[in-house]
């Protein structure tokens, strides 16, 4: 979705009389529209990252609430979606670390950082192996692969979302794919 809040407003040096100056859009309306258009895709991404649908929905919901709270502080409103995407990734990391920190007993230790059994049972065998291998990758590499191959983001956008250099994104992706191939060969 492309957000252009300047449409109909003041452009360049044109002075618009105060009485016809358009009201700034209501943040609640804008954020709700943004949520309507992007929540599903982001929830699915979070589900891939977390392996839990309920937690994914919570993370995405919280990310949009955070966007709404900080709307006025957002420097550029057309970067709202990138901001939310970063928030979702941060939320996923926090959720994963939180679940790992809560686990202290050995029986639960394996359940901390893997997708739920329910999620895995719904997939075909080969794709299940791919997801399992993906989950064995380091966090950063996993994020790069999901942003690239699920959200189809270009490298420069991934770099901006993750706060990395372009070269780091490329090398992370290259290493992640190599590791993934290695892991899948091991599985087969």
């Amino acid at each position: 979705m492309h957000l252009d809040f300047r449409a109909g407003g003041s452009r360049g040096s044109t002075v618009v009389p105060a009485q016809v100056r358009p009201m700034p859009p209501d943040p609640a309306v804008v954020v709700t529209a943004l949520y309507r258009d992007n929540a599903l895709k982001l929830t699915r991404m979070a589900h891939i990252m977390l392996g839990s649908r309920a937690t994914a929905e919570d993370v995405v919901h919280d990310a949009f609430c955070g966007l709404y709270r900080r709307w006025e502080q957002l420097e550029s409103k057309d970067k709202a979606l990138a901001y939310v995407r970063s928030s979702v990734l941060n939320g996923c990391r926090t959720a994963l670390r939180g679940s790992a920190a809560r686990v202290s007993w050995p029986a639960e230790a394996h359940a901390a950082n893997v997708p739920s059994a329910e999620a895995m049972a719904l997939m075909s065998e080969e794709r299940r192996d791919v997801i399992r291998a993906l989950w064995q990758l380091p966090e950063r590499q996993r994020e790069v692969l999901v942003l690239r191959y699920y959200l189809d983001l270009p490298d420069y956008q991934i770099a901006r979302d993750l706060g990395l250099a372009m070269s780091s994104v490329r090398s992370a992706r290259r290493r992640a794919l190599a590791a993934l191939e290695r892991l899948l060969r091991g599985t087969a």
């Binding site: 609640a28 954020v31 949520y35 891939i48 919901h61 709270r69 006025e72 202290s104 080969e126 999901v146």
Partner: protein, 432 residues
């Protein structure tokens, strides 16, 4: 596109589609949070002008942000120092009532440091019979001739019979691992006797002493006072028996002894259950972070005597400071230290927690305290069910001895309510 990329893309999309398209929950935004006061000030410039002449929200923010940051830093500094102070001085004063809660035993034997020692790094100690409620020192027992200090004390359930472990002075040696011989002495107290000299009677137990370079770990007197269980590690024969822990149970009436050897274990704590037969051992396995509670039936023959009650996987960053099995054998009380090496002046926290020995489930967190590294809550006594505890907590007001910068304070802990009991600044440990 490479095959792996295609496979990955397909797998990701398949997993993503597990979230149905119509499942998105409605967004619930809290009204009024989006712009807060700044929007009000933008709408009403006269409100903004009242604060330091700033007329717009942007100008306001320019002034307010550094001021808020400075205030926050100040608040955090004050908060940290207050918490550090409160954490160690928040304990209430001694109780005014004549009765202590929890029906704790009326007397205890404490091991006190004696200031001044002719041997650097080795502290002389003595045992002091003390009344729990008043703190009155009824009798003082010095270390027997030939020995230098008492290092541990354990008690029977009759509140009259105690056993003290005494060690000799460590002599300089080429061998870096040096442990002094350890001998056990029975202390019988008669608190109602008129003369202090008659209130305590120390006799050597008819059990062999632990030899030099045998590392004495822990011991426990059975509730009826008839048996003594001793845990040790044999360092003298380390090349042959690396990591072998030995548990010896002595029958104090007949002098008979029974030994158990455990390879790769270290039983740091020993407890008797109320049946006077079962010994509960707590320790680590193979020097990693797996801990076990092992129950040993000292009356059963052969290998059937041992039964692992609980296995616990810990983490390297956690330090197990104290472990206590309650006399009913059902609860493990554990003081774990969570270090934060960069967190000066508070460098960690102690979590005192109760676990069910049968299931390993957490039953409750008794206490959480911020401490400096090495300071810990110690549980000195527990009632049979573990509901009433006598614990020591560290205070940092005095240097009690050379290299000892922590004064302890003891109290009765019931739930999260701490009732202090009189406690000498020289007392390091005690048994009830």
């Amino acid at each position: 596109m490479r095959v792996i990329e295609a496979k990955l893309r397909d797998a990701l999309h398949e997993m993503g589609e597990q979230v149905p398209a119509d499942s998105t929950r409605p967004l619930r935004l809290r009204p009024g949070h989006a712009d807060g006061n700044q929007a009000d000030m933008a709408a009403h410039p006269e409100m903004a002008s009242r604060i330091g002449g700033a007329r717009t929200s942007r100008q306001l923010r320019r002034w307010l942000t550094p001021a808020a940051a400075a205030a926050a830093v100040l608040a955090i500094a004050v908060g940290v120092s207050t918490v550090a102070a409160i954490d160690h001085h928040r304990l209430p004063a001694h109780p005014r009532s004549d009765q202590l809660p929890g029906h704790v035993p009326p007397y205890y034997v404490a091991i006190h440091f004696v200031p001044g020692s002719p041997y650097p790094g080795q502290l002389r100690t003595r045992a002091v019979v003390t009344a729990t409620r008043t703190g009155a020192e009824l009798a003082t027992v010095n270390v027997p001739r030939g020995y230098f200090s008492f290092v541990a004390v354990t008690a029977a359930a009759d509140d009259r019979t105690f056993v003290l472990a005494a060690q000799k002075v460590r002599r300089p040696s080429k061998n870096p691992v040096i442990f002094s011989p350890t001998r056990f002495f029975k202390l019988t107290i008669h608190p109602s006797a008129a003369a202090p000299a008659q209130r305590a009677q120390l006799t050597a137990l008819p059990v062999p002493a632990l030899a030099r370079n045998v590392f004495f770990l822990d011991f426990a007197l059975s509730p009826d006072g008839s048996k003594l269980a001793v845990s040790s590690t044999d360092w003298k024969t380390r090349p042959q028996l690396a990591g072998v822990a030995k548990v010896r149970v002595f029958d104090l009436r007949t002098g008979a002894a029974r030994n158990w050897l455990f390879h790769g274990h270290s039983w740091t704590r020993v407890f008797w259950e109320q049946d006077n037969r079962t010994v509960a051992l707590v320790g680590s396995v193979d020097r990693d972070y797996r801990w076990q509670v092992l129950l040993v039936n000292t009356s059963a023959p052969g290998e059937k005597s041992e039964h692992v009650a609980l296995r616990i996987a810990s983490r390297p960053q956690l330090i197990w400071r104290d472990q206590v099995i309650t006399p009913d054998g059902r609860t493990l009380i554990l003081a774990r230290e969570h270090p934060r090496p960069r967190g000066w002046p508070v460098t960690g926290s102690i979590w005192l927690q109760k676990y069910d020995v049968r299931t390993g489930h957490l039953k409750g967190t008794v206490d959480v305290r911020k401490v400096r590294l090495g300071e810990s809550d110690d549980v000195l006594w527990s009632n049979p069910a573990g509901r009433v505890l006598i614990v020591t907590v560290p205070l940092r007001r005095f240097a009690t001895g050379p290299g000892i910068h922590t004064e302890l304070r003891a109290g009765i802990l019931i739930g999260d309510h701490f009732t202090p009991i009189p406690w000498s600044r020289y007392a390091r440990t005690a048994a009830w």
